[in-house]
Every structure is written in C-alpha cells, then in structure tokens.
Symmetry: C2
Subunit: 392 residues, 2 copies
C-alpha cells in the first residue's frame, strides 16, 4: 500500500531522467467475475532497453495508491515513487534490465478504472465499475507485456498489493516469469485486513456527496470528500509501526506557542489537530483526496479483500504447485499489517511444494511501508540486485 | 473501551437482582482547563451494603462506552456490563463489598455531558461542551464518593479508560484509596492511540449532519449518522486480537447461498458486507450509533488523548511518588492496543518508586477486550478476589 509522496521517504535522484507515461489500448478481457470489460487503456512507463533476446524485462507492481510513474522525472517534474530503487546502477539496474511499470486495472492514473467513461452510458463508471481481482489486474498486465513483445519476464517485483500481484503472476502464469520478488505481502488477506478496508470504505460511504447526489455541488463533494481522507488516515496508521510513531511524533503538540493543551476543538468544533501525529495524518489524508479517486479506492480495496491464494485451492502448497519461478520473499520485522509470520507461511508452503525460495526478514523500524523508506533502500538494493543477478 | 453488549461476552446471570440507577446533584467543579462546569448530575448505582466502619467501598470505573449499570438487572431488563464480575460470591463480592459504579463526566448515560442542557443557552451543549480530562472525571467521582459519606475507598478498579482513572485516583487522591486495580491500561496514550481516536472523530466530522445542520432532518441525521458507526468500527478492530478475528471470522462469507464472491457492492453501491467480519463490525457500528452520542464520543476520546501521567511530571517514577495504594496491574498477552509492555513500564516505575505493586499478564486470546470476555472471567475473578482480600 505504497504512498505516492516518495519525497518524504526515498532517496530519489531522478537519475533515470525524463520519462513520459505511455498508453496502450486493448479490446478487453473477461474478468474473474465472468463480466467482459473493454475496451481497456493501460498507462505504463518503461526504463532501460529491451535486450535483443527479449530476456531482460522486469515488471514493477505498485501498491494501493501507486501509479505507472515508478522512476525518473515526469512531465510535471515529479519523481517516480520507487526512483530510489530503479535507475542506472541502482537495485533494479536500468543499464541491465528493461523495466516496465503500469498503473493497475481499476486505478485512477491512466489505466481503465471507475473514472473512465462507460461507453454504454457515456458517463464515468463510478461505483458501477465491475468488481475485479488481483488476478484480473495481472491479466491486464499480461496484455501489456505481450503488447511489448515479451514472452517471458526476467522478474516481477512488488510490495504490499504489488507483492500479491507478484504471487499471482508466479501462480497463474508460471511459463511467463523467471523470478518473483514478493515484499511485505501475504498469500491471503486476513480478516483484520478486510476489517480495515471495510471501515475505510464505510468512511467513504458516509461522505456527504452520497447523501445529496442530486445537488449541483454533489459531484464536487464526492471527489473532494473527507471520507476518502479518513480511509487514507486509517491506512496510514496501519502502514506505520508503533516504534516509528513514537520516534517521529510521540505526544508532541503541534502548537508550540501555548503551554500545554488547548482544551478546544477549534472553530465550530471542527478539529484542526492538536497533536503532531494528528496533523501528519490530516496532511496525508488531504493530499490523498486531491490525488486519488474514492471509487478507485473502493474497487482496489475490494480486490485486495478478495485476494486469497489458499481458499479456492484448498491449501497453499497446492496453490504453489505450478510455480516455476525462483521466489524471493521479503518481510519487515516492524510490519504489523502483513507481519513476518505471513511471509513465513508462504515460505514454508513453497518449501513443501519443493520450489526455489529465498527469504529475508529485514530489521527496519518503518512498519509496512519500509520498502519505501529511505533507510531501507540500501538493504533492499543489495538483496534484490543479488537476487536478480542470480536468476538465469 | 468496554462494549455495552455484554451478553455476547460475559457469563452474566443478574444474580445481584434488580437495580435502579440513581442520580446525585452537585454545584459543579473547576475543570483542569480552568473552566467552571456546573451544576452537575452524576448517574450511579450501588450494589451491596456499606459497612458501619465505611471501609468496604469499591469503585468501578467503566471504559469508553460503558455506563453506571455495571451489575444486576435494570428497569429495562438489561444486565450490567460487568455483571459476571460483580455480585454475591463473585470476583467483586457484594456480600463483602459496597460497590459503586457511575457514568463518567462527559458521558451520555445520565451524567452531565454534551447531551445535557447548557443553562446559559437552554440548548444541549453538543460540541460546545468543555474539554475534560481523566482527572476531571475522577474529581467528579470524588464528589459522588463524598456524597455517599465515604472517606476512603477500599479499592478502585477499571479496564482500559477505567484503568486510566484507577491510576488517576491513586496519583491524585492517595489518601482516599487503599488499593487500585489497573486492567489493560497505560500511563500515557501512545501516538498510535491518539491517531486511532483522531481518525474516529474525523469520521464523525465527515458525517452528513454537520454539512446540512439547518435542515429539519439535520439533527436526526446528526445523532443517527454513520460517522459514529465508522468510529466505533475502527475502535472494535483495535479491541480484538488478530487471533480472535481469525478464529471467529477468518475469511468466511456472510451469504452462504452463493458459491464464491458476489462481485457486487450491492444496491446503488452501498455495501452490505460480504465477509462475516464486515457484517459483525457493521452490527457493532449500528447498535453503537443507536445507544451512544457522537459528541460524547468526541469529548471522551479527547480526554483519553490528553491522558499522560508522565509528561507533565517529567517521568513516571516522579508521577507515582505520592501513591500510597496497593497496586495491581493486569495485562493481556493478546492486547495490541495497550500491550503488556505498557503495563510493564508502569510496574517498573512503581517498583522504582518503592510502591507495593503486583503484576499479572493473562494469557487470553481476546485482545484488549479480554476483561469483558466470558472465558477471561474465571482468571480475573481469582486474581481480583485474592487481591481485594489481601488489602487491609
């Protein structure tokens, strides 16, 4: 569930240089639900050069709020969300690899999603967008990979929701992936994860816009609502470790000019945030509601809820039976959303299924979001570079 | 942060019999903020008989959503929220002790709070209710105890927010408490705790009623809003352990008659909850919004946020310096909201301050709410009964 404001975290330098997001068009796909969805647009970027043997492609898989812009500097001067990892000489070395990054199906950053126009009604899909799965997202990425003329990916790599997609790639398309890096992920969303997503969506549903959809202002409210901000703030609490929260904020107050508490909820009882941690979350919430679409949030979190490699296949060893990719599973000891125990469950099942699996638990204090944290990049770089080089 | 629907948890039998909530009136108090608040009403119940020596009083301190009705059966046939612990022969034995339970200041169950009429405006306080602290709640309990003619309490006992109040009693009124039982609590709310409360209040603020306060229906919406339900659902996730969620719900679907997922958000995109855990939370949210006031929720969570014995006094050993009560600190190994480490911080500070302190970590899987869980009552009974008897 990567955040987009990488400046805060990652040690990015835009070394890859200027990049433009490109768009590929497809007729459509039949979703896991049985519904046909098309035509489809996929927003994507590439970095590096495809080898003549077409054997050096690495597919980057973003988390909940990410986009196709993973590296370099875009037309707006914005750094890619994983620029610290992708570029010449970096962990995912663009001098060696042809790196592909696309916005996921259901997203709001150029790929077909709830903001797209439904050709049937000539209006945006909104919440009538069909429900999708991680598998559907991966199938659409498959169309893009095929479109680029690539038969087999050297690697697929992603954290959080991106890690779930890396797993789907390895399980669903064993012939098309040579290796997969699964970071801070799980083989099935836990009931606690479902619960957090559910509450976030309910915060969106209790947003004013949904109560007064007929008013002129309704649509504006809908896209600027506080519900999405609340959902994002809930998410942010789960992405950070208790330790980071203590170190970064503790019980520090935002207003330094008054001694002690304000004993006030502020103007008209609309709180502005008295503690620094409140102010931080408020900032995360409001910047998110400016850059993300609430209906995309609903569709994507629902796809995450549906993610369960184990259930439909009986058990995880069976689920992993067809995997032929070399697997690298990474977890963070401070991640309480998808803790190391969830990674170990996957590792044990892969071992039982006699697959090639490596596992590293990184000692980083930044919680679930550690794969985006500046201080984590050197370790990630070392481990992922070594792993990519070891795959032939 | 006790839940009121004890039937689901505790093994209650209403053995204490019929009880009536009583009301005491006071001129008022000067709050920690410096604001004078009065007149005050305090809703309370008592169980058992006060000894001629006036030395057998035990004060029960409820959690966020609790009320004065802790034991027996009220006029509506409702069992007390801790009936399993309080009654003849129970852990807090009404054959031996005179048990007092009151609704906290700022509450919405009979004690003065945001629903009370502000005599200045002749309207309910709502969000203009002054901000209060745990210390203010305890001072108001002090008025009640004095009103009942009791100079020294045999014991004060509470879980979660009630545990914070037990600590305040021991620290602020050392001459008035012989012993204190602090269950699943902390000496200061962590930034993560502040963050969860903040997001809950923001869910309330994004509630429709606040957007259209002029409409006739506005007020009704306000008190029936989904924002409070969202806040409560966030709370519930933090009260349950991951383990309990797995055991109780797992990834089970609510609708058994369809095979697999529904791939639908339901009518008009207003989700009804596809997974059992969603349906459970929805039930908790809606029943809470029928029985609790959102402005009380705001005032009380803000008081919890303000709770910090350490900060204003420099360190915890200094904060505990004046304590004369025998202290019992209890934690649950599955509580991730106020984990055992927080209890141990208190225990170490009490030891350093050379106070009489006992500590038990209970091995119960029900998370923060374990003190209300049926299966936890036998252990709690044994430990608290022994402790109460040991105090003379």
């Amino acid at each position: 569930m990567a955040i987009g404001s990488t400046k805060e975290y990652a040690d990015s330098d835009g070394l890859y240089g200027r990049v433009n997001t490109q768009y590929a068009e497809f007729d459509g796909i039949t979703l896991e639900s049985g519904v046909f969805l098309g035509p489809l647009t996929v927003a994507y970027e590439t970095y590096g050069t495809l080898s003549p043997e077409l054997d050096n492609a690495v597919l980057i898989l973003h988390a909940l709020s990410g986009d196709a812009h993973a590296a370099g500097i875009d037309a707006n001067g914005r750094l890619g969300w994983w620029d610290a990892m992708i570029g010449p000489g970096k962990g995912i070395d663009t001098d060696k690899y042809f790196v592909i990054s696309s916005n996921c199906l259901g997203g709001c950053k150029g790929t077909t999603g709830p903001c797209s126009i439904n050709l049937g009604t000539e209006k945006p899909f909104g919440r009538s967008f069909p429900l999708i799965t991680m598998g559907d997202m991966v199938n659409v990425q498959g169309l893009l990979v095929q479109h680029l003329g690539i038969e087999k990916l050297h690697n697929v790599v992603g954290g959080s929701m991106g890690g779930m997609q890396a797993l789907e790639w390895a399980v669903r398309h064993p012939d098309q992936v040579r290796s997969a890096v699964v970071i801070a992920a799980t083989a099935r969303l836990s009931p606690q994860g479902i619960a957090f997503n559910w509450v976030g969506r309910n915060a969106i549903y209790s947003d004013p816009a949904r109560v007064c959809p007929d008013t002129e202002a309704g649509h504006v409210y809908q896209k600027m609502g506080r519900g999405l901000a609340v959902a994002r703030m809930i998410g942010h609490i789960t992405y950070l470790s208790e330790e980071t929260m203590e170190a970064k904020f503790g019980r520090k107050l935002r207003l330094k000019d008054i001694d002690g508490y304000s004993y006030s909820l502020g103007e008209n009882g609309m709180e502005g945030g008295e503690f620094e941690v409140e102010s931080y979350l408020q900032h995360q919430g409001s910047s998110f509601m400016r850059r993300f679409d609430e209906d995309s949030y609903i569709i994507i979190t629902k796809a995450i809820d549906y993610f369960d490699l184990e259930g439909p296949r009986g058990d995880l060893v069976t689920a992993f039976e067809n995997i032929s990719a070399k697997m690298l599973i990474l977890s963070f000891n401070s991640d309480w959303l998808y803790p190391t125990s969830m990674s170990l469950t996957m590792v044990r099942a892969l071992q039982a299924a006699k697959k090639h699996v490596s596992f590293v638990e990184l000692d980083l204090p930044y919680g679930h979001d550690s794969f985006l944290a500046n201080a984590g990049i050197p370790s990630l770089t070392r481990i992922i570079r070594g792993f990519l080089n070891s795959v032939r």
